[in-house]
C-alpha cells in the first residue's frame, strides 16, 4: 500500500461482495467508514502512512452483512462497484455505498495481511 505520487497505486486486493440488508425503509451494510480527501489523515488509526486520505473501515457491526461477507475493521476500500475510493471526499464515498437502487455492492479492499500473505507465498 505504498503511494508514490504520480505513479499508479498498486495493492493486493480482495473482492468482497456485500448484500445489503433491508431494515425498514433503508438498506444497511453494517459497517462504518472514515477518511476522505477532505478529512484529517493523521487521526486515522488504521493507516500505515499517516498521509493516506483513503476510505477506511472503522467499525464492522457484529453479524451484519459486511462481517458475513468478510470485511474486517481497518480495511481500506479501493473501489465500490467500480467507482474509485482512493481520491474521494467522505460524503462522495458515503453516497457511492448507499445508492438506493443497488442491492449488492462489490468492494475491492486491501489490508496489510494480504500483502504479507502474498509475499510469504512468493518466498516459498
Amino acid at each position: 500500500m505504498s503511494f508514490i505520487p504520480g505513479q499508479p497505486v498498486t495493492a493486493v486486493v480482495q473482492r468482497i461482495e456485500i448484500h445489503k440488508l433491508r431494515d425498514g425503509d433503508n438498506l444497511i451494510l453494517g459497517f462504518s467508514i472514515g477518511g476522505g480527501i477532505d478529512q484529517d489523515p493523521s487521526q486515522n488509526p488504521f493507516s500505515e502512512d499517516k498521509t493516506d486520505k483513503g476510505i477506511y473501515v472503522t467499525r464492522v457491526s457484529k453479524g451484519g452483512p459486511a462481517e458475513v461477507a468478510g470485511l474486517r475493521m481497518g480495511d481500506k476500500i479501493m473501489q465500490v462497484n467500480g467507482w474509485d475510493m482512493t481520491m474521494v471526499t467522505h460524503d462522495q464515498a458515503r453516497k457511492k455505498l448507499t445508492k438506493k437502487g443497488e442491492d449488492v455492492v462489490r468492494l475491492l479492499v486491501t489490508r496489510k495481511s494480504l500483502e504479507n500473505a502474498v509475499r510469504q507465498s512468493m518466498m516459498h
Binding site: 444497511i28 459497517f31 462504518s32 484529517d40 486515522n44 472503522t58 467522505h90
Partner: protein, 526 residues
C-alpha cells in the same frame, strides 16, 4: 521597674543547675502569665515568658561552640558577646595571615601611571611657558590665531584631565600576579611619545631659541591631540574590548559543588579571575564547612569490611594487592543499605529544620507585635498614659528576649551559628525596626544562606586568593582553558567555553496568512 520582673526570671535561672530548671520554668510560667495580664493594660511593651525550658534534650548533640548567648539570656547586661569562642580565634588568625605585609604594593602601579599622566599633561604647558620665560623679548608677537589655539589647547587639556580622572584614577581592587599587559603597553607608549616630543622640542626649539611662537603653540596643540588619541586607544583596549561577551565561564566550588555560569568578553586569565571573584562574593552562597559531609554514622558502616585470610604459601609480593582487590570486590557485591539511611537522615533533617523554622517565624511575628512606632503627635496628646519611649537599640533589646531561644535553635539546626553572634542579631533587629521592616524582612537574613558578601567584615586588608593555572596568566582566554582560584580551605575551578556563534535567519510572516480550519474526522455508518 515594669520590666525587671521578667528579666530577673531569666538571670536567676542561669545561675542554677539545669535539672532543676524545668521545675522552675513551670512555676515561672504560671507566675509570669498572671503578671502579664495585669501589666498589659497600661504598658506598651510586654514580654511573655516562654513556655519551654531553655535547653531541651537534643541541644547537647551537635556543636556547642558558640552557645553562650542562648542559655544565659542576660539581655540587659549584654556581656555575652565579649566571650571569644574557638571560631572567633581561628577567624582572627586567618585575618592576620590574610593581610599582605606590603600594603603599598597595591598602589605602586597606579601611582606610577598617575605620575606619568601628570607629566604628560603638564608637558604642553611647559612647552608654552618655557619660551616665554627664557627669551620673551625676541619672540614674534602672535595675534588671533594663537588665541584660538590657546583656547583649544585649554579645552583639550580640560577634557583630558576630566576623562583621565573618570576612567583611570580609581583605586584598584585587586593586585594581579603579573603585569597587566595592556596597561604597561599604554604607559610605555605614552612615555615614548612624550619623551620624543621633548627631544624634538629640546633640539629644535630650546637650542636655537626659535622665534616663531605660533609654531611652538601649534606643536603643543599637536601633542595634546595625540594624547587624546592615545586616551581613546586606552579606552578601547582597557574598557570596551572586554564588554562584549565572547566566552562562558563555568565556576564550580570544589567543596560543595555550587556552580554558576558567567558571560565575559576577551580578557586575560588574571583579569578574568578578578571578574569571577567579584561575582563570587555576591552570587555564591556562603561556604559553610559544617554542612558538607555525610554524617559519620552512615559512612562508617561501609568500612566494616571483610578480613581476608590467606591459606597456604603464596607470594608475599602480590598478596597485598590481591587482598585489597578481593576486599573491594566483596564490598561492592555486598548489599549496601547506606543509601537508605542517608535518605531517612535527610528526611529527618528536613523535618527538623522546618519545625524549627516554623517556631522561629511564629516567635518573631509575635515579638514584632509588641513594638509600635510612636507617631509625633501622639507624644504630646496622651499625657495620661506615660509610655516609656525607647530608641531603636532599646526596643530591639526588649523584643529580642522572646525570640532568642527559637532563633538560637534554628541557627544551630542549620549550622549557621558561627556567622551570627547575638550582638549582630540585635544590631540587625535594630536596623529592621528603624526602617519599618516586617518580621519576614527581618528573617530573610537567617532563613537563606546569603552570599559571602553579607558576612564580610569591614577591613582593608583584602582577601588572599591564589590563581593556579597551567598557562601563563597574562594569556588571553580561549576555549578549553581551565584555571582555579585557591583559597585556604576550598577553591573555585573555572572552565572556559566560547559562546556559540549564532546564525540568525529571517522569516517574514504575512499577518494575513494566519488562517485556520477545523479538523474533520467523521465516521459514517452505511
Amino acid at each position: 521597674m515594669d520590666n525587671e520582673s521578667q528579666y530577673s526570671g531569666y538571670s536567676y535561672k542561669s545561675s542554677h543547675s539545669r535539672s532543676s530548671r524545668k521545675h522552675r520554668d513551670r512555676r515561672d510560667r504560671h507566675r509570669s502569665k498572671s503578671r502579664d495580664s495585669s501589666s498589659r493594660g497600661d504598658k506598651s511593651v510586654t514580654i511573655q515568658a516562654p513556655g519551654e525550658p531553655l535547653l531541651d534534650a537534643e541541644s547537647t548533640r551537635g556543636d556547642d561552640r558558640d552557645d553562650n548567648w542562648g542559655e544565659t539570656t542576660t539581655v540587659v547586661t549584654g556581656t555575652s558577646e565579649h566571650s571569644v569562642s574557638n571560631e572567633d580565634l581561628t577567624r582572627a588568625s586567618k585575618e592576620l595571615e590574610d593581610s599582605s605585609p606590603l600594603e603599598c604594593r597595591r598602589f605602586a602601579g597606579p601611582v606610577l601611571s598617575g605620575i606619568l599622566g601628570l607629566f604628560a599633561l603638564l608637558t604642553p604647558l611647559a612647552f608654552l611657558l618655557l619660551p616665554q620665560l627664557l627669551w620673551r623679548d625676541s619672540l614674534e608677537p602672535c595675534g588671533t590665531p594663537c588665541e584660538g589655539l590657546y583656547v583649544s589647547l585649554a579645552f583639550k587639556l580640560l577634557v583630558l584631565l576630566i576623562s583621565s580622572w573618570a576612567l583611570f584614577l580609581r583605586p584598584p581592587r585587586a593586585t594581579l600576579p603579573r603585569f597587566f599587559v595592556f596597561r604597561c603597553l599604554l604607559m610605555a607608549l605614552v612615555f615614548l611619545f612624550v619623551a620624543s616630543y621633548w627631544l624634538f622640542y629640546g633640539v629644535r626649539v630650546l637650542e636655537p631659541r626659535e622665534r616663531d611662537y605660533r609654531g611652538i603653540v601649534g606643536y603643543a596643540v599637536s601633542l595634546v591631540d595625540a594624547l587624546l588619541f592615545i586616551q581613546y586607544l586606552a579606552l578601547v583596549l582597557l574598557e570596551v574590548r572586554h564588554l562584549r561577551p565572547a566566552f562562558c565561564l563555568k565556576v564550580v566550588r570544589t567543596t560543595d559543588g555550587a556552580s554558576r555560569f558567567y558571560n565575559v568578553g576577551h580578557l586575560s586569565i588574571q583579569r578574568a579571575a578578578v571578574w569571577v571573584l567579584d561575582h563570587y562574593y555576591t552570587d555564591f552562597p556562603v561556604y559553610n564547612p559544617a554542612l558538607l559531609n555525610l554524617p559519620k554514622s552512615i559512612l562508617s558502616k561501609k568500612m566494616s569490611g571483610f578480613k581476608v585470610y590467606s591459606l597456604g604459601e603464596e607470594n608475599s609480593t602480590n598478596n597485598s594487592t590481591g587482598q585489597s582487590r578481593a576486599m573491594i570486590a566483596a564490598a561492592a557485591r555486598r548489599r549496601d543499605n547506606s543509601h537508605n539511611e542517608y535518605y531517612y537522615e535527610e528526611a529527618e533533617m528536613d523535618r527538623r529544620v522546618r519545625k524549627r523554622k516554623a517556631r522561629l517565624v511564629v516567635a518573631v511575628e509575635e515579638a514584632f507585635t509588641h513594638i509600635k512606632r510612636l507617631q509625633d503627635d501622639e507624644a504630646a496628646t496622651s499625657p495620661k498614659h506615660p509610655r516609656e519611649v525607647m530608641d531603636p537599640r532599646e526596643a530591639a533589646q526588649a523584643i529580642f528576649a522572646p525570640m532568642a531561644r527559637a532563633m538560637q535553635k534554628y541557627l544551630r539546626t542549620t549550622r549557621q551559628q558561627p556567622y551570627h553572634s547575638m550582638e549582630s542579631i540585635i544590631a540587625h533587629l535594630q536596623f529592621c525596626i528603624t526602617h519599618n521592616m516586617t518580621p519576614k524582612a527581618f528573617l530573610e537574613r537567617y532563613l537563606t544562606p546569603g552570599p559571602t558578601m553579607q558576612y564580610q567584615r569591614e577591613n582593608g586588608r583584602g582577601r588572599q586568593w591564589t590563581l593556579v593555572s597551567e598557562e601563563p596568566v597574562t594569556s588571553a582566554l580561549r576555549q578549553g582553558l581551565v584555571f582555579s582560584l585557591r583559597r585556604l580551605d576550598f577553591s573555585l575551578v573555572v572552565t572556559v567555553t566560547p559562546l556559540p556563534f549564532l546564525n540568525l535567519g529571517e522569516e517574514f510572516i504575512d499577518p494575513k496568512s494566519h488562517k485556520f480550519v477545523m479538523r474533520l474526522q467523521s465516521e459514517t455508518s452505511v
